[in-house]
Amino acid sequence: MDTKDILAVIEKFNQTALAEFKYREGSVEFHLKRHADVVYALAPTAAPVAAAPAPGAAPAAAPAATAVPTGETINSPIVGTIYRTPAPDAPPFVEEGKMVKKGDTLCIIEAMKVMNELVAEFDCEILRVLVDNQHFVEYGTPLFEVRRK
């Protein structure tokens, strides 16, 4: 088996939904493994993943790159109800046009009576708020369109 053959195998592997492929013949041995985050990106609707996020990257930010074509978004990491304000009569955590720093609270997502704070994973500008206050969000629902700083 030469380099050309191996490249051909890799190309074929990419066309399948296989997660893993091991090959051994004589002294030649190789092991192809798809990055866990990329497996579901095979779905025809998903855009090709240019650079897979590092393992352990925040789930909030990880799938964002492919979710909305117009720009980067921050997505809901859980299923629940979004609260844009810390209290009913308080101003929202963030507004469109606001700059946020890594670690700033963006909103609260309530799931089973637990208030989960969603914090920014990186410095960015909030371009658009994509969901209304007290709206139900699914896993992966885009919440904010942002521009990294």
Partner: protein, 440 residues
């Protein structure tokens, strides 16, 4: 009153439950992982909610996301299906605490039945025959070895929290016993976080016979005949049939009455299955699965009772719609599990059909079977007057099963049921070895 129901599952069982809901006029809410965006249950449900990324632990096992999805979609009830969270008492409790109806038995019953030592104690208490063995958990290895010497070999070591063959060891030589106890306990600790193990006499090549049970919240419990699931590979069932060629009407009645006593005793409601080892005309309690099972259509085919609808009605507080005397076992049914041997995209799919032919599946042309979940892609069920006719019918029906793009175990399944050994019937769980020899 259940007007809307969330199905905390995927695949064919989710499709099966959605169908039952539609017949009952119940609004359906599907949940799905990112790997299942295009799944059939998502298309069929009235509403679908994404609950997480592809790995099960982050989606189909994510209790918080599932309960949130139910509350936000205004579901009245949750049906857990099979596998995933279906036997997790913690999930059942969270569902109930959120004010939702749990379609299944009481969480305390699930907890008790999930513990093999406790469930065996209860079986004994209500007069269900159990496999002879050493009572309770193993605490002192030397004492256990002495007791096994007295009882005789072979024995099987089982994990109390066990399932799927994990923490299970068969021992045929006394000098290998103490090491195997340690290995089994270690394996159980790793798999279930509980290293408790116990010992039973090992019944060589016993048959796997299970009874379908159904109880309501008014203290009624019935049995709907048995299923024989002895054709297995690594504890995974391949072929299920009813009635069992080994069970006579007299044994069935006795087994059924024993099981009813146990289920009434523990206040069980909903669908459940009591599994027995069957050998030389005797049955021995193995465990209770406190949920619906994959092979439930076999029982539906012979009894005419829609078990999923019955589960929903019972959870709603209605009494059972069937009485024991209405359950007649006078025909034959078989189910074949079609498993994918690799993931792939369906390029062509034509399912068999016909009189007393049923296919439960989630396949459609263009669908990509993801590598992430269970390999079963379809169940083919037939009904016939006799076993001999049923086997021939299944062979003809499987010839009509046409699937391209995803490799499956269809040809092997055809060969299995066409062997002399299978046709003769009345075998134990090691039958696949002999069948494979006959196939050659």
């Amino acid at each position: 009153m259940i007007r809307s129901l969330l199905i905390a599952n995927r695949g064919e069982i989710a499709v099966r439950i959605i169908r039952a809901c539609k017949e009952l006029g119940i609004r359906t809410i599907a949940v799905y992982s990112e790997a299942d965006r295009k799944a059939l249950h998502v298309k069929m449900a009235d509403q679908a909610i994404c609950i997480g990324p592809p790995p099960s632990k982050d989606s189909y096992l994510n209790i918080s996301n599932i309960v949130s999805a139910a509350l936000n979609s205004r579901a009245d009830a949750i049906h857990p299906g099979v596998g995933f969270l279906s036997e997790k008492a913690e999930f059942a409790r969270k569902v109930q605490e959120a004010g939702l109806i749990w379609i299944g038995p009481d969480p305390d019953a699930i907890d008790m039945l999930g513990d093999k030592i406790r469930s065996k104690e209860n079986a004994t208490k209500y007069g269900v025959p159990c496999t002879p063995g050493i009572e309770g958990a193993i605490t002192n290895i030397d004492e256990t070895v002495a007791k096994v010497k007295k009882m005789g070999l072979p024995v099987i070591i089982k994990a109390s929290a066990g399932g799927g063959g994990k923490g299970m060891r068969i021992v045929r030589k006394i000098e290998e016993l103490s090491d195997n106890i340690k290995i089994a306990a270690n394996e159980a600790e790793k798999s279930f976080g509980d290293g408790t193990v116990f010992i039973e006499k090992y019944l060589e090549n016993a048959a796997h016979v299970e009874l379908q049970m159904m109880g309501d919240k008014h203290g009624n419990v019935i049995y709907l005949g048995e299923r024989d699931c002895s054709v297995q590979k690594n504890h995974q069932k391949l072929v299920e049939e009813a009635p069992s060629p080994l069970v006579t009407p007299e044994i069935r009645k006795k087994m059924g009455e024993d099981a009813v006593r146990l289920f009434k005793g523990i206040g069980y409601s909903g669908a459940g299955t009591i599994e027995f080892l069957f050998k030389d005309g005797h049955y021995y309690f193995m465990e209770v699965n406190s949920r619906i099972q994959v092979e439930h259509p076999v029982t539906e085919m012979i009894t005419g009772v829609d078990l999923i609808k019955e589960m929903i009605r019972v959870a709603n507080g209605d009494p059972l719609s069937v009485k024991q005397e209405d359950v007649r076992i006078d025909s034959y049914a078989m189910e074949i599990r079609i498993n994918a041997t690799a993931p792939g995209t369906v390029t062509e799919y034509l399912a068999p059909s016909g009189f007393k032919v049923r296919v439960d599946s989630f396949l459609y042309t263009g669908y990509t079977v993801p590598p992430t979940y269970d390999s079963m892609v379809a169940k083919v069920i037939i009904g016939a007057p006799t076993r001999a006719e049923g086997i021939n019918k299944m062979l003809a029906v499987l010839d009509e099963f046409h699937l391209e793009g995803v490799p499956i175990n269809l040809e092997l399944q055809k060969k299995i049921i066409n062997t002399q050994i299978f046709r003769k019937g009345g075998f134990g769980t090691q039958v696949l070895d002999s069948i494979m020899k006959e196939i050659g």
